[in-house]
Symmetry: C2
Subunit: 412 residues, 2 copies
Amino acid sequence: MNDYSSYLSPMGRRLHESAIRRMGTVLARQTDVVSFAPGYPDSGSFPWEELREITQRLLSGTDHEVLQYGPTGGYTPLVESIVPILDARGITVARDEVLVTTGSQQGLDLIARLFVTPGDVVLVELPAYTGAIAAFGNAQAQLVGVRQESDGISLEDLDEVCERHRAAGRRVNLLYLVPNFQNPTGLLLSLEKRRQLLEWAERRDMLIVEDDPYGSLYFDDVTRVEETRSIRADDKSGRVIYLSSFSKTLVPGLRVGWVVAPSTLIDRLETAKQSVDLMSGSLDQRVVYEAIRGGAIERLAPRLRELYRRKRDVMETALRAEVGNLLSWTQPRGGFFLWARLPDRHDDMGLLAQALEERLVFVVGSAFFVDGTGHDRIRLSFSAPTPERIQEGARRLAAALRHPVASEHSSR
Amino acid sequence: MNDYSSYLSPMGRRLHESAIRRMGTVLARQTDVVSFAPGYPDSGSFPWEELREITQRLLSGTDHEVLQYGPTGGYTPLVESIVPILDARGITVARDEVLVTTGSQQGLDLIARLFVTPGDVVLVELPAYTGAIAAFGNAQAQLVGVRQESDGISLEDLDEVCERHRAAGRRVNLLYLVPNFQNPTGLLLSLEKRRQLLEWAERRDMLIVEDDPYGSLYFDDVTRVEETRSIRADDKSGRVIYLSSFSKTLVPGLRVGWVVAPSTLIDRLETAKQSVDLMSGSLDQRVVYEAIRGGAIERLAPRLRELYRRKRDVMETALRAEVGNLLSWTQPRGGFFLWARLPDRHDDMGLLAQALEERLVFVVGSAFFVDGTGHDRIRLSFSAPTPERIQEGARRLAAALRHPVASEHSSR
């Protein structure tokens, strides 16, 4: 038996693969590749010694729960320590409004499964995070894009798109957003628009899924912390479901994220999580909890802001020197990504093919667009590579851009 | 806003909660409770020192990948080390036929999502593992039960049920089974029936989902290792999807399980996993790999068989002494569970209420039956409690059974 297609569910048949993950696989198979592709944190920033000491203590054998099954909703002290982290972000919640997830991606998947009836419209930005596109797509949502402006999502377009699809008889309940240093654009949503979004959600009876992995990684030369204030912080009517994780502020290899939602929804998300993976890793959760308790995450945050700001500078300087006449971009104000516009007559797929020849990899812009556009953009991550590799990558990008243009997509 | 029901998907509205997980929560909130409820391994068996040393080495900081994002399909050396583990079980596979999952539960969920179109019939045993019931139920399957006999599933009933539902126009593609020391009955499926099941799957064009968490925990006083040979081992035509994990043979707190399937299906399962949790924990996977490499899992296996066999003996002896005239059961030949039949005029829910008064908890039989029956059964786990607690639990069970019968379910 070789063909299983007749056995598959609709989801099984039209699975959404993440272009970023695919790039990661390409990368892993080659040597001397400069990768601007996956949004990996800088592993040099991981607090190895602290985590080693924590783990040593946890595995002493005195507390047998450390490697045992545990509650689906999360290790209680961890849940309780997320509450003050949220408080520092202006978000006041009780512990029954928090669910620990196996990374933020699981939060997205659980939300998609809980809310999306096949055929529902889910509104996302143009462009949007591919992991969210995959999670909502695999729940059989129809993803509909909303235009962006320099200060984030266009509220006019949002309202127009929402009402147009409702008028066409579709169910439209969810808007997915990354307000802080969006993946892939790095854009910061303005405070004024955040306020207006809450009013809009109330007026149009919508829920907002606010994904905030990068909020604490603002670059203080151009961004004030107040500008990263979450939409959830001012949500008085339970319209916002908020996600975050420790993947960017501690380490991603311990799979610990969380969802904030009204307790009735947390109950349901937790029940869904039971059948999805029973619980997140016991050791992972405890290591993260001890890292919070010992102050590691608080100590790390300013160093990470500084680290990534400097890497952004290295990338901008290198790009200006090597390809400044060809690429254009808006300065990233935080996060991991520089979102570059290609010169006319180049497109993302053709350029990637050339870049691979030069042993450079990045993510094509079109991967982030649910409407088939975006071929004039590429996403360059400056978070993981060293300054020297960033400079080398910029040189390779220049070489790739010098190649004659020839691609099946170049007409787009 | 308090009522979110109008926003929910069909799955969100009718979520399947695991009765076992609920019992675990009840347990966690009380003191001096004897728990025969969750199927937790004995945490005293965890190789603390070895895992501490492994983790110490891994977190030295020399290999930055240890806490970084990694490939969705699993840490390559781990995948490669699962291949010989399977080989020792008679299962010959290539590495592209193995997917690492965040525990076996994730494997079940991915399979459910990949194969179940809402309304599809999925065949399960009467009784069946609640986590599988939840995973298939949350994928909107119609779960249909098949009778068991003393040597496992009834092949006559299986064929009759399958053909009846097909004749009624339903799609029936999947049979879910735990052949080795089934949860909850502890039953061992006979070798003859395993062979017949493969023929049946071929004849009826079915896929078999074979879940094998307990296979290596056979009790050698009454079971030979050859009797645990997996169905997958003799599958020549790609009809069996096999699941297993390290939760029962190493520790459950590191969330590492795996799925074996033809590579075309592994590809799809991996793509589904991308949007579900990106990847399983990097540290967890490496710790498990090092435990395999260092021989820890091989060294543990005979000790675990001996440990759980002795606990079974303790429970059987204690039950015979305390309630031998009231309960009946078949001797467990491996695994974690004793499946007891209640005396007439008792039922599972009423007895559980009485048991909770005595600070004893177990799982009601009816939780495992998709047809609403099973109220004359309870599942008693002997795996986690100490011998003394098992004896104390048996005394409490006797006290609970002495109470007058009064329950809304007692008429069933």
